[in-house]
């Protein structure tokens, strides 16, 4: 199973998890990213490169499926204006081996952070905006997986 979706609307974590559990593997790992509030943040705006996003995420998923014995992968990434508490991204992996499920899930989210063509802009309650800067740490994490 390979499910990839880049979408504006929210998604159903339970449905994704259930689909992965139904694959008959021993374990399902997931990571869900949520917009953090605080510091007067009223929204996070996610811009994407539409012509590239879907294909690039598919390449990252194919990499993961080549590296680990996975029964299924589900990746959902939202774009558009998201308020604190909203889900941004979901990565779910299913495998007969729990380590494969957990490691590939970590790999995918690290890789999405530094290799998926999205840009985040913060909107604050005083009207100010700020583009989130890429963190060297994220790039290092992705590189840490090699490949």
């Amino acid at each position: 199973m390979k499910r990839i979706s880049v979408q504006a609307q929210d998604f159903d974590v339970a449905g994704e998890m259930a689909a992965l559990e139904a694959l008959g593997g021993g374990g399902v790992a997931s990571f869900t990213g949520v917009v953090r509030g605080g510091d007067g943040l009223v929204a996070l705006e996610l811009e994407q490169y539409p012509a590239m996003t879907q294909a690039q995420v598919a390449r990252i998923v194919d990499d993961a499926m080549a590296r680990w014995p996975l029964l299924g992968v589900s990746v959902i990434h939202r774009y558009g204006r998201l308020e604190p508490g909203a889900r941004i991204v979901f990565v779910g992996t299913a495998s007969r081996h729990r380590t494969a499920a957990l490691e590939s899930c970590a790999f995918l989210i690290d890789w999405l952070k530094s290799h998926a063509p999205f840009w985040k802009k913060e909107h604050f309650e005083d009207g100010a905006t700020r583009w989130v800067e890429a963190r060297a740490e994220d790039e290092a994490k992705a590189k840490g997986w090699g490949g």
Partner: protein, 86 residues
């Protein structure tokens, strides 16, 4: 020769004030960095967005590419800041 499409994202797009444009295809052998330099020379928002190539990343035909990549037969060059997805 066909024109080249340039697409901009995030603060590069905002500084330039447009998300896409067509430019004349640079001379054979030109690299993305040469295109960036040429565009920055227009001044104004272009200079602001593209004046410091170390802050930029690029893609050729929807695949990431270092700035020293030759443009070759590419149809679409994207210029943007480092990505912040996930």
């Amino acid at each position: 020769m066909t024109a080249l499409t340039i697409v901009y994202f995030a603060w590069v797009r905002e500084a330039i004030g447009r998300d896409e444009e067509q430019v004349d295809r640079p001379a054979a052998g030109a690299r993305i960095a040469d295109l960036v330099e040429m565009l920055a020379a227009r001044g104004g928002g272009y200079a602001q967005a593209l004046g410091d190539p170390a802050r930029l990343r690029a893609a050729i035909d929807q695949r990431f590419a270092p700035l020293d990549t030759p443009i070759g037969e590419a149809r679409e060059i994207a210029l943007f800041p480092p990505v912040t997805g996930g």
